[in-house]
Subunit: 373 residues, 2 copies
């Protein structure tokens, strides 16, 4: 018996979108789904009950950060990540690869794994596919991710080819090292910006028969159209009956385009990060409520929004809070941005059920791109 | 008809403590009561619904800060402070005096009022009793405070005498300038550390017949025993049928001692401020959960506490959050500290009703002062 079960419940007739149900040891998730990011075992500024309120059913947490602080062994002794952070819905942990590769000068890659220095204190560490599995099994998320190399952008063909092949070899080692039975392990498709490498990577991974597949190495600086093209090349090589997870993507337009190309899962720091800088999503596009223009604007952040921030507070008040460095300010913008994205996902799922996703995409993007008047 | 009504519902037989009911335009408050401080129109790290959850019925906000940012006129246009900050229970605003006098080199006092420079941008301002009333009427709290001079500690007799007399003259000007009918204006008793000046100030103020009285200029660095002695000198000069508010006091021991000496209202930044530095109240005294000693302590902050933090999270997790600069950390310590103080006030009120306040005071302080083992 697999730790997770996935079934497609409805398919779009005129896009590749599908509705699905993903069962984990911690609940049932309707897909397509967006996963808020809780890097250090906390979705920044949010409490678990607020995450439930905005409609989150699964969150992502970062293996690299938790390994360094407070340490996966401590979290294991606390009863695992769910108990440690007081979140009893589902969790996915990344492999630590992406963060380690982002360290640039601080890391060195070999066939065996990656040696790196901590961004916190400069101490030396080594993560291999086996170590990543050990850490993720200790954290005990519902879904773990294979340890991959995410090639930089841009990268030449030969570097990307070697990197993609390394990712395939590492995926096999991850699978061999992963033994936790209440946790699923997803493979990650790489291949950079090269269509043949994407196809090859997908075929390699699928031959290993993972219960789900991440698509990594996209949204790393390339034009969005290129990302969409690469999805169209990759997705047909993935099995229809397994969840497909586009890693690190979460702007409203990319969510709509990703779902239309058959993606089931997304994560991104964007909604929470821009919230902390005073920018909120609205149906008319992003609005920087920190700006002086909103000091006497007593309308909600996004009129019509059902979130706690919009139901109770004005742009003018939230602008005052942000400007005065009051914590409540970023709490309210974060609640709003997550609710905005999670409600968009609800609308996307409803439109797939009604087979009207292209209409939703067109009307949403028209209003969104028109901006504020 | 007065904007507020106060009635004593029960008196302690062996202390000066009493139970009361304070009705304002925004609700009924059981006294003795503690008021959390929301300096900049936000109780730091808390949302209004969390304030309701921890049991707050009235909060204090600071006139000086709101005058400078976002400005009382803006708050007036937003419909007043209650609407602006989304808090529909009671509010008390201070007069701005205490903050202005804390500016030290940046202010100059005259009979007319106080000239000062903003701590934010150095701009020049002038607050007089009349200006303080204008600002507080625009803010629209349920209770406004007279503009007083709070003498520094220590201060010699002649400085304190002049300052106290100035406060009495200013109180009269405040009363003349205050015209808002849905807002009560409290006088403030000063007199520094001198018993005769305390008595004189109380008599001066009482002759003006305010609907309530603040006791200011205490807890400014003097020994606690001296503060208790001065309360014993002052309180008998205040009318029995009006609320008595000990300003800026809120440590657990001072709350118990203040109530025992006939105080009905308190405010203090202490619970929220130490929370942000990682220290929490427990029945065994303060605990600095930020310390490494608590990294693997998976007990609640204060076992037996009914707050959201204690019901759902461990010391080890909260320590991790604080150390990682995660906002949720200070949110949880703040919720806990406010709930701890507000539950202490609930227990104090219950003990007055049962005429067992001395027993509560003895048993609470014995456990509290014993510290952690």
């Amino acid at each position: 018996m697999q730790p997770i079960q996935f079934r497609v419940t409805c398919e779009s007739s005129n896009t590749w979108a599908r509705l699905g149900e993903l069962k984990t040891p911690h609940g049932v998730i309707e897909t397509p789904v967006f996963m808020p990011v809780g890097t250090q075992a906390s979705v920044k500024a949010m409490s678990p009950r607020e995450l439930v309120e905005v409609g989150a059913h699964i969150i992502l947490s970062n293996t690299y950060h938790l390994y360094l602080r407070p340490g996966h062994e401590l979290i294991d002794r606390a009863g695992g990540l769910h108990d440690f952070m007081g979140w009893n819905r589902s969790i996915l942990t990344d492999s630590g690869g992406f963060q380690v590769f982002s360290l640039a000068d601080l890391r060195k890659i070999s066939e065996e794994g990656v040696a790196f220095r901590s961004h916190l204190d400069g101490s030396s560490h080594f993560i291999s596919p086996e170590v990543s599995m050990e850490i993720q099994m200790a954290l005990g998320a519902d879904i773990a991710m294979a340890f991959d190399e995410c090639a930089p952008y841009p990268a030449d063909y030969s570097y990307t080819k070697e990197s993609t092949e390394l990712t395939s070899r590492w995926a096999r080692r991850c699978q061999a090292a992963h033994t936790r039975e209440d946790q699923a392990l997803f493979g990650i498709v790489q291949g950079g910006m090269y269509t043949d490498l994407r196809r090859q990577s997908a075929d390699d991974l699928v031959s290993l028969d993972f219960p789900g597949y991440g698509i990594g190495g996209l949204s790393v600086g390339e034009p969005k159209e290129l990302m969409y093209d690469l999805l169209e090349v990759t997705v047909p090589h993935l099995p229809k009956d397994k969840p497909r997870y586009l890693m690190g993507v979460g702007s409203p337009d990319c969510l709509l385009e990703g779902v239309s190309r058959g993606i089931d899962m997304f994560d991104c720091v964007l909604p929470t990060r821009i919230a902390r800088h005073g920018t909120v999503f609205t149906k008319n596009g992003p609005l920087t409520v920190r700006n002086a223009a909103y000091s006497e604007d007593f309308a909600p952040l996004d009129p019509g929004c059902d979130c706690y921030a919009c139901q109770n507070f004005s742009r003018g008040y939230i602008r005052h809070l942000l400007r005065s460095n009051e914590i409540l300010g970023v709490r309210l913008t974060t609640i709003h941005n997550l609710r905005f994205i999670l409600r968009l996902m609800e609308n996307i799922r409803r439109s797939i059920a009604q087979d009207t996703l292209p209409e939703l995409r067109a009307s949403f993007l028209e209003e969104y791109n028109q901006g504020h008047i």
